[in-house]
């Protein structure tokens, strides 16, 4: 049998559709990898073995009688444990919700069920998508498959780690200030934060309603496009120019010739940016130019302005959710989560309103500054992830990232691997688009990914 660990979603779909491999074989093989390898990684909080095998058998039976549903039929996936699956716990990786059983599916789980996908389990995260990595929670934090002592990024840590370790080819995440793109960068996989409101958040526990997004993480750009297409309603898909089938974004392979790529160099041009990351980002831009893109500098407000604006919004909105629990059960939070969430108590109404006003201005600025570009690129993390047990250093890395601007603007943005450090850690870069411009983002990312040829490189420990 084909080694299933690093099959892409697209390869899995082809093999299942042609019945060269059954969903049951693939699901069973991935469950075996999880059982064998995840003890060191802690990427899953819950593995739904029996239900997964039952879903896989059902998929095989349907395909055998000619009722093939499409590219996700029989394909395993994992969901961040902040997303409701009826009958399963949604813990948000917190003692606060340790006994919380979801009564209904999130809309995106329903959509994947309709596509015939097979849920392998729920993945680890930072507590309530903000407080991590933490060692004082009921479950340990996920580790980075490239170096187990290193932070895998967050908050969708388990989703990124499981993908990089070859435990699954599709995982769902959420992104309020970079929580899909951070683990994508740190673990060397692909993650997209789509346009605000493009993917339903119904049934996803909120962190900050006006900044929250849900989206897929995968190991390749093409897989990501397939996955996103299955999360959209037909109306949203039409607005994005997204079809169906194995290549839902028809122009994904059209290449970079004729595209104008803006570069927000200011976000990663400062003295506190790691030199290897800056150099890799510049090299990726040069590669895009060599592939035919027209490169254009883009100037926007300083990164700190975007980060501060987003921080106020996130803290205020998150505090509104957690205020009662923080007052009555604050010892049930982990230290990092408790502190991050309590910070919202220190903000006033004026702070929040001013931040929303600033946000509207920044969103307009981003539209104006990128009007002549098809996509814009910038770095993702400005420094490499810290040791996971070095709390102070982890804290220092949090503001040293260029991800929050796109939560503030609400525009789509994808992180993909563009290289590796001398120490062997992945380097990610962001490609952002206009609202509803995911097709252009995928087209640019697909061309760059093909030129860089990194998709076959995996963490040696998990081969």
């Amino acid at each position: 049998m084909i080694d299933p660990g690093y099959l892409t979603l697209a390869e899995s779909a082809r093999l299942i559709c042609s019945r060269e491999m059954s969903s049951l074989e693939l699901t069973g093989a991935l469950l075996e990898r999880i059982a064998r390898l995840d003890g060191a990684l802690h990427s899953f909080l819950l593995v739904t073995t029996e239900a997964a095998l039952a879903q896989a058998r059902q998929a095989d039976a349907e395909i055998a009688r000619g009722a093939y549903r499409g590219a996700l039929h029989g394909v395993p996936y994992a969901a961040k444990d902040i997303i409701d699956v009826a009958g399963l716990p949604t813990t948000c990786h917190s003692k606060i919700l340790q006994d919380n059983i979801a009564s209904r599916n999130a809309v995106i789980i329903d959509r994947l069920n309709q596509a015939g996908a097979v849920l392998l389990g729920k993945t680890a995260l930072h507590e309530f998508a903000t407080g991590g990595p933490s060692f004082d929670l009921p479950w340990p934090p996920a580790r980075n498959p490239w170096q187990l002592e290193v932070h895998p990024g967050g908050s969708s840590s388990g989703s990124g780690a499981a993908l990089a370790a070859g435990l699954v080819a599709l995982a769902l995440g959420t992104d309020t200030g970079g929580s899909i793109r951070h683990p994508a960068s740190a673990c060397g996989v692909v993650g997209i934060k789509p346009t605000y409101n493009a993917v339903s958040l119904q049934g996803v526990f909120p962190l900050s309603f006006s900044l929250d997004h849900a989206g897929p993480l995968t190991r390749t750009v093409g897989d990501n496009a397939i996955a996103l297409a299955h999360l959209l309603t037909p109306e949203v898909a039409a607005r994005m120019g997204c079809g169906s089938g194995a290549a839902p974004f028809a122009d994904i392979g059209a290449g970079l010739t004729g595209m104008t790529v803006g570069v927000i160099e200011e976000f990663y041009g400062g003295a506190d940016v790691d030199a290897e990351i800056a150099a890799a980002t510049d090299a990726a831009v040069q590669t895009m130019a060599a592939l035919g893109a027209v490169i254009k500098p883009v100037r926007v407000s300083p990164l700190n302005t975007y980060n501060a604006c987003g921080r106020v919004l996130m803290q205020a909105e998150a505090y509104a959710i957690h205020a009662d629990w923080l007052r009555l059960r604050h010892q049930d939070y982990g230290e990092r989560g408790r502190r991050r969430l309590m910070a919202g108590a220190l903000l006033g109404a004026a702070d929040y309103v001013k931040a929303q006003q600033l946000r509207a201005q920044l969103a307009r600025e981003m539209v104006e500054a990128t009007r002549d570009c098809d996509v814009v690129v910038t770095a993702s993390s400005l420094v490499f992830p810290a040791r996971i047990d070095d709390a102070d250093e982890v804290e220092r890395t949090y503001d040293r990232a260029a991800r929050m601007p796109f939560n503030v603007s609400g525009t789509p943005v994808l992180s993909l691997p563009i290289g590796f450090s001398r120490a062997g850690l992945p380097i990610g870069m962001q490609i952002a688009g206009h609202a509803w411009g995911e097709a252009q983002v995928y087209r640019a990312a697909h061309a760059l990914e093909a030129a860089l040829g990194l998709t076959a490189r995996h963490p040696p420990r998990f081969l």
Partner: protein
């Protein structure tokens, strides 16, 4: 009252208003740093906060971006 003592009073008042009492010294120190960071942030001078506010939030699905 000095600026520092006014700031200390405001910090304590906000925690008290939120019912966040009996916190550990570590939590208090972390929150004080977060408080100071929030206070240090100033809006850009051209941000029109003293004018009629724009809509509180304009997601890109609204016509403003069309």
């Amino acid at each position: 009252m000095t600026q520092q003592s006014a700031s200390d009073d405001d910090f304590r008042a906000r925690l008290s208003a939120a019912g966040l009492e009996g916190l550990s010294p570590g939590d208090l120190a972390w929150l004080r740093a977060a408080y100071d960071k929030a206070r240090a942030f100033r809006l850009p001078p051209d941000c029109p906060v003293t004018k009629r506010p724009a809509p509180v939030f304009e997601p890109p699905c609204r016509p403003v971006h069309d």
